[in-house]
């Protein structure tokens, strides 16, 4: 593992209104690994991602991407936010959405070039959606839509991928194949951080985990971070949570 972590947050505090959503959170996500952020609802998982990328103001703390301040290093990150906000009626095709992944490298006011279109098409092919480039995005199923946003992130060709609940409400087949894809990407040397809620999957498939509930409860190799006593600290000692973790 080379020197700097892929993503590191130091003492991040964020509050909406009176209460802190995140309170002095410290966490590191090592390079070249598949990491998950895990925690109960309202633990601040999405907020942590957005704060780490500098997309929302923080009360205090800082965040580093490969050792550089996050704001200056955003071109190293592809971020896939939760999808509720998207306007599925928008007159735009799947191909156009994926091509957006090349916009940063294309630069302001320039057309997307042939090489960039080729990269976008390859990304679409990699998620198994090559045949759908001309469809309007609203015509896709939920799983297919998520594949498109994966493809857009792939097309960005960044060393770090950050995704917020990418498998929420997604069918099992899509989840399995996208998880496999994430594994391949990790093997290619990319770093991946996703918010995920299935503890079992995280234990089996992920290298690293952050257990979060307003404060960072545990951060380390997935098996250690999700040990039963740690889970109790995040979810409470209720039998239900532990069973669920089973």
């Amino acid at each position: 593992m080379s020197g700097a972590a892929a993503l590191e947050v130091r003492r991040i505090t964020v509050s909406y209104g009176a209460r802190p959503v995140l309170w002095d959170v410290d966490a590191t996500f090592p390079e070249g690994s598949l990491s998950a952020i895990v925690g109960p609802n309202g633990a601040g998982k999405s907020t942590l991602l957005r704060a780490a990328l500098g997309l929302i103001p923080v009360d205090s703390g800082q965040s580093l991407i490969s050792g550089h301040p996050a704001r200056a290093a955003l071109d190293h990150v592809a971020y896939v936010p939760q999808r509720e906000a998207v306007d599925w009626d928008f007159p735009i095709t799947v191909g156009e959405v994926v091509a957006m992944g090349r916009y940063r490298s294309t630069g302001w006011f320039r057309r997307v070039g042939r090489a960039d279109h080729a990269i976008a098409e390859a990304a679409l092919d990699r998620v198994g959606m090559a045949a759908y480039g001309d469809r309007q995005i609203g015509q896709l199923s939920g799983g297919q839509r998520q594949r498109v946003f994966f493809a857009r992130a792939l097309a960005q060709e960044t060393p770090l991928l950050v995704m917020d609940e990418p498998f929420a409400g997604i069918d099992a087949r899509t989840q399995a194949s996208l998880l496999e894809l994430l594994g391949e990407l990790r093997d290619e040397g990319r770093s991946i951080v996703i918010v995920h809620h299935e503890l079992a999957t995280v234990r089996e498939r992920f290298d690293w985990a952050l257990l979060l509930n307003v404060r960072a409860i545990a951060c380390g190799p997935a098996a250690d971070a999700l040990a039963p006593e740690m889970l109790a600290r995040a979810y409470g000692t209720g039998a239900e949570a532990l069973q669920w973790a089973g």
Binding site: F90, P91, Q156
Partner: protein, 301 residues
Amino acid sequence: MNDDLVIIVTAGLAATACGLLGPFLVLRRAALLSDAVSHAVLPGIVATWLLFQTRAPLAVIIGGAVFAVLCVLAIDGLRSTGLVRSDAAIGLVFPLLFALGVLGVTRYASGIHLDLDSTIYGEIAFAPFDVWNVAGIEVARSVAIIGTIAALNLVFVVLAWKELKATTFDPGFAQTIGLRPQLLSRVMLIAVAITAVTAFESVGAILVVTLLIVPGATAYLLTDRLALMVALAVGIGWLSAVAGYWGAVAGDSSIAGTMGLVCALCFALALLVSPKYGLVATALRRRRRSAATATALAAER
């Protein structure tokens, strides 16, 4: 150019300028900003008169543009507090500016016949009588001014096409790739403000509002391609310019009003018979589907 042609070209160029921006307003759910901006022009005219004692078109356009931009920024500011929804912010700001304009007229400018009606209905019929001499060629002033704005809008939309598309479709993502959605949205609204101010001066406020909203909404019912949507919006605008003019001449009626009605007619047609999203098509699809389900159920039995 003969007079008919000048009027049609003026309206058509206004339709081009508006049609290039209108679809983005419709997609951003900000269609009514156009209404707000066109009303905010009035205090601009009054202030220009009070400060410089002039009603020269260029001065009025600049004065109006200042207030229109002010209007857009005030709406943005109110909305960004998170306490007022954007629709309520619009409805708070533009009546205020319009009220200030009316108060200015009644208090300080009642002597000068600042014609409120003509700012709203427009005086497109007078377009041919005001001619500029550009390098020895006589050009109707309205054609020159609106033509310039239409050209500027075209340059803006073509240049910033992918940026407009990305920030309109997915502002959150656009922000992460460094596209500055808020800045771009302000620039676009300022373009809308300047377009509205310039166009209202020759075609009237109501036609500007109509041209910014209705062709874009009509095109939205007809296509799933953004580029086609913009092209259709411009085309529908030209159609209503031509048809509206001849209709108005035939019926001896208001030109701006008739053009607006043709736009409305286009919208109604699209709403009914658009092949993809029209009421007829949707109803047919639904009936076919329920018929298919019925036969499938019957076959199962």
